[in-house]
């Protein structure tokens, strides 16, 4: 395999993509998973037989034709919660992913291009943020901000800023030093022209991969936080389902495990896997960081 040079102008990228042939199967599988998930999230009101918030049966019913996955403690339909939970997860993924990448661009790329004091300050900031322990920080900020969904999303996005800023920053610095940027400047290209023709094509792929990766991570993190009790207790989400299910004593030893814990856990797992596969599928073609040869 010949090495793909990371930042190439848009037209050359197109040519390379066509030459590379069909999409990698990992990417296709990932995209199919995510599309199915988006469909479930959109069509949840049509697919679900019950309101996920409403009590529609007795508590802890076994699966039946009325409640395919049984009911939880006050008697809410578990399948309906599972279907509506896709919405919460996708919202978290998209919001946390895009906010993290926006932050990363402002902390990593902009100062790197401006140079000077802004660059020094921002690179110190990134090093400092990278040294913060993630999980205790999440717990702490969750406690400071109260159990609101917006707070949880903000914190997850915040945690994504530093690692992505570091990657984008080094790429921006190497782009700035490239011959073709200097040449464009020499021919009188203004900052906006350089940005549009050289920096966006060079950084865009990294931003896309970063977004996909962080979106996947956000889903797992949100579910984990809800699982330990840091989340909006009035919402409908997979993490919250796990939290409630595992709050039942001895859930592991009862059959409820199979229709309450397992589906919610699988839903989180499959969604995360969908994002990961898309990321893995995109990465070799867009971000040869791990695959770069000498």
């Amino acid at each position: 395999m010949t090495a793909v040079a990371p930042p190439v102008p848009a037209r050359a990228t197109d040519r390379a993509r066509r030459a590379r042939g069909p999409w990698p199967p990992v990417l296709v599988v990932g995209l199919v998973l995510l599309a199915a998930l988006a469909a479930v999230a959109l069509l949840a009101p049509l697919l679900a037989a019950h309101d996920p918030h409403a009590i529609s049966g007795r508590a802890l019913e076994r699966p039946s034709s009325r409640h395919w996955l049984g009911t939880d403690v006050p008697g809410r339909d578990i399948l309906a919660q599972l279907l509506y939970g896709a919405r919460a997860s996708l919202v978290v993924a998209v919001l946390a992913g895009s906010m993290a990448m926006t932050g990363a661009v402002f902390v990593g790329v902009v100062p790197a291009l401006l140079g000077g004091a802004a660059d020094t300050v921002s690179s110190r900031l990134v090093v400092f943020l990278l040294a913060l322990p993630g999980l205790p920080l999440l717990v702490l900020i969750g406690a400071l901000a109260g159990n609101r969904r917006a707070a949880v999303i903000l914190v997850i996005a915040f945690l994504g800023v530093a690692p992505n800023a570091r990657i984008l920053r080094s790429q921006a610095l190497s782009l700035r030093a490239r011959g073709f940027v200097a040449a464009a400047q020499g021919f009188g290209g203004g900052p906006l022209y350089i940005l549009r023709r050289h920096l966006v094509p060079g950084l865009g792929p990294l931003i896309v991969v970063g977004f996909v990766n962080w979106a996947g991570l956000a889903i797992g993190l949100e579910a984990g936080l809800a699982f330990v009790g840091l989340g909006d207790p009035s919402g409908v989400s997979w993490g919250l389902m796990l939290n409630r299910a595992l709050a039942q004593s001895n859930i592991y030893f009862s059959a409820m495990w199979t229709w309450w814990v397992l589906p919610a856990g699988l839903a989180v797992a499959v969604t995360v896997l969908g994002f990961t596969l898309v990321g893995v599928g995109l990465e070799p073609s867009l971000n040869p960081r791990w695959l770069r040869s000498t």
Binding site: V268, V280, R292
Partner: protein, 348 residues
Amino acid sequence: MTLVEPGVAGQDVDQHPVGTPAGIRWSWAKGVAAYLGMVFVLVTVNFVLPRAMPGDPIDGLLARGSAGFSLGEQSRAALEDYYGLDGSLASQYRHYLARLAHGDLGRSIVTNAPVRKEIGRRLPWTIVLMGSAIALSTVIGVVGGVHSGWRRDRPLDRVLLTGLLAVREFPTFLLGSLLLFVFAVKLHWLPSAGAQTPFSGSFNLAQKAVDTSRHLLLPVLVLTVGLTVGNYLIMRAGMVNELGSDYLLLGRAKGLAERRLKYRYAARNALLPVVSVTALQLGFALTGDVLIERVFTYPGLGGLLYDSIGARDYPTIQAAFLVVSVGMVTMNALADLLYRRLDPRTAQ
């Protein structure tokens, strides 16, 4: 790549040249001063942080369903007085520093037991749990990365890379929950909760060791999966970077064995970034992992931190964060020292 960066040899000698005894002593003094300053800042942050959270420990006590409803302002004031929460922030801070200087971490407001005892009970478990996971994941990540990078794009590399990338973001608490269900609940091979069998006082040393390892196995496994990926990717990238180096070509021309080139030459040069990642992981080790501790009901520091934040138990929060942050700063300092030994260029 040449081993010596051009320019390093010709650089101006530093004001306090590293290598002379005076220079070393100076840099040690500076390092120790920076370390102490950092610890003082952390001690202060640990005091301020819990008090910045909404609510206070008395609310926490009352919310726990005691006879709190009947408590009026007077009883509340008495409670605040009892727990030393009544003075101004400045005087509370003075008391906190004075007690800390005597090694007194205070009493938990929730359990009324000395905080030091609770931390002493949990700290060893966190060290055992996180220490084994980090050690295991570093070894696996390095060995896997060396093989993968050395034989890039071969089937083994493809399988390892794709497999590890695919589990990269998999939530560890789900994996833990699943393993717990299969191996502890269904198969009864392993215990389902805790760090030791309760009432195991009559066990002899060997039985205790086996018992502890059996409790440790699943949580360590899950944590290792989560930690390995980063080490592997970095080691692999490092190896790939070394592949075309001149010194490897020279070594081959000299007829050195492939094994020697791989481990003694390329792997050594690619190892440095892994050291920094492992140091970072060790720094975070004492924070434990709340999620994993919840799943396996493991008595570590992560759960203590989580519970004490929920109850606004100021003394416990302060003490737990103190242990965690001092551990982190210490590990970073050690990593710096190790770095200087491994790569003398970074000392300049």
